[in-house]
Symmetry: none
Subunit: 212 residues, 4 copies
């Protein structure tokens, strides 16, 4: 096989590193961590097996880096968008934006497979689970809780359950993600419909008590 051009610049190295991460995502999500073969990762990234070890010290670390780096950026973007001080969105609007973001940044991208990997393998990768809890979950739930809290304070909506369990806002997203991976071939799921229906339920549920 042709020998790849040595990656002399920082940019070259970053590009090659990314190629390996991309390939790794494909292989890990197709086969799972244990069954994925580093040789296949290398082949998919168009590098030699040994080259992978120039960028990642082990299969384990490669996996960790993969799930660690892929999600951080989208989550930060979301935070900036939803918490921007100038935006005075209602909680329904926030949730709608949240589901739209889930759809466009997670479900419809390779990030869906990253999240699925975390759900599937996280229990065996304590650092991954910790990282996800800290960087993604905590942060995401915090966002929801923050909005729900503000809303409840103004009396604009009965969002007290979401304050205590912001997880509930994420629940349909989890369902959509898992369904897509597991059952879509047997019974396709209308993800948007699901989100809309859930939003409709929440909206009615959060209706403030009518004034006398």
């Amino acid at each position: 096989m042709a020998r790849s051009r040595p990656a002399r610049t920082e940019e070259d190295r970053a590009a090659r590193r990314q190629a390996i991460l991309d390939a790794a995502l494909d292989e890990f999500s197709e086969r799972g961590f244990a069954a994925a073969r580093l040789e296949d990762v290398a082949a998919r990234a168009r590098v030699a097996k040994g080259t992978v070890y120039l960028y990642f010290p082990s299969k384990h670390v490669l996996f960790e880096e993969l799930v660690r780096t892929a999600i951080s950026e989208p989550v930060q973007k979301l935070g900036r968008r939803l918490l921007a001080p100038e935006t005075a969105l209602s909680i329904e609007e926030v949730l709608q934006a949240f589901y739209r973001w889930i759809r466009s940044e997670i479900l419809d991208t390779k990030n869906r497979r990253i999240v699925h990997l975390v759900l599937a393998e996280g229990a065996r990768f304590p650092e991954i689970a910790a990282f996800y809890h800290r960087e993604v979950i905590s942060r995401g739930l915090g966002l929801i809780r923050e909005i729900a809290s503000r809303t409840a304070a103004t009396g604009a909506a009965r969002s007290e359950e979401l304050v205590r369990f912001p997880h509930l806002a994420a629940a349909p997203a989890i369902v959509a993600l898992l369904w897509t991976s597991l059952f879509d071939r047997h019974e396709p799921l209308d993800t948007d419909g699901l989100f809309d229906a859930y939003l409709a339920l929440l909206t009615r549920a959060m209706q403030p008590d009518e004034p006398p």
Copy 2:
């Protein structure tokens, strides 16, 4: 090592088979399918490696039998309970019973790990996914939809979203299950509180429109 007493009767065989399945559940859920070692399964079941093969022809089949048999029975029990004709439960009562069942039959038992295995490995075991969709998911969603449908018909509650997406009833259960496996050590989840909060939301959301 001491030789196990030969399992001559049908009962003995069933017991040993079950011991192997139990051990397999432990190993598979601790390590995942690919990384689990049949030798460890055997050791945990207190039999020799070769004995496992007297009961299951391969690791693959052992895994499939494991997830296939463990869940069927509880699901059927649930169906009988919820659809018993004499019971005229409101949808809120049904959901409450459902969450209680989830709690006692899934979350608090080894079945939790079985379901997690399905979520984690199902994508690589098409037959498992198909089986689960057919025997567990379809059936479960059918139950919910049936109740929601009856309820909507009587006008007793606005359950039309649950008719279209009974998945939503299961969503918090999925969240609770995954959370338990992944993040409980970092931030314990009050599962009952979660279910209660969700029920409260649903109850308000399904409030029928007040008559004029």
Copy 3:
């Protein structure tokens, strides 16, 4: 499975022993010694795996007994027939009888597979090879040599080569046997034609020099 009737009489035991030997021949000649499974031998003999060990102490010994016992009897019969003092056969007649015997007692019976087993596995079973050399080969070659010798002495035929190399009389039989096992499906061999042709050659070759 039904438990076989215990073999109480000597006859019973002999019959069961023979059933196992028959089954062993089938399995060993289909798969070779190493690849043959004792479990299959037992199944074919309609006994349990453990029963085989009541009759033969190991797979090795079973194989040795098999090839040891099967051939002895036919060879002794042949000897009695060919060397019967009253028969004053010419060497051509003896050879013809020999090939007929080869045909009917070896090539057309299960003995063919025994001999093939010896040819194939003998090198790894020194005792088998020794036994065969002593009981079958030596004896057979001795017979031929004896006849050839007598014949040469009378001047009835130029059989001196067969005296020194009685192996040559057996050569076409070996060829026929191997061909049947290996190449018959690709190009069937007319065994009788082969023997006849060889006999014709030998007959002409042994023609005594014409008297002046």
Copy 4:
């Protein structure tokens, strides 16, 4: 263990491949296909177990390659020698050359063990048997038949039996080969004497009828 120098060039690879084939021949002919251990092959070739799999995808294929490649070349050489148009050899001379070739290229080399492997295991390797029939046997018999045919046509010798059954020319070679493997330790065989005796017989048998 010392790591073998990586075989980067085509030549290096061919050499290592050959080392493995040589080791495989040793192991297979000592133990038979089923009982030979790939680990021993590797050790004998001074490589690690895994290395064997870089050159041959399975034990089966290793065996097939072994018997496939070893014989072809000598057979082709023989064909070129015997059928060279300029050589106008008598059939006796051809047979003599043939036996000399058998001796120097088969019986006295590792090829003897290859042929014995084919005779022993061929029945379980249909492709091997087919290959041998096609490339070696058919071709060899064709050569003999061709010469015998030419000879018969000129009336120079009565070789009609060899035309119909060229197998007969090969018979003593088969006998010599098997004897060497099985019985030589008990009763050494004078292979050259055997061939000479056979040639003497054939020569007399093929004597053309004396003209009146």
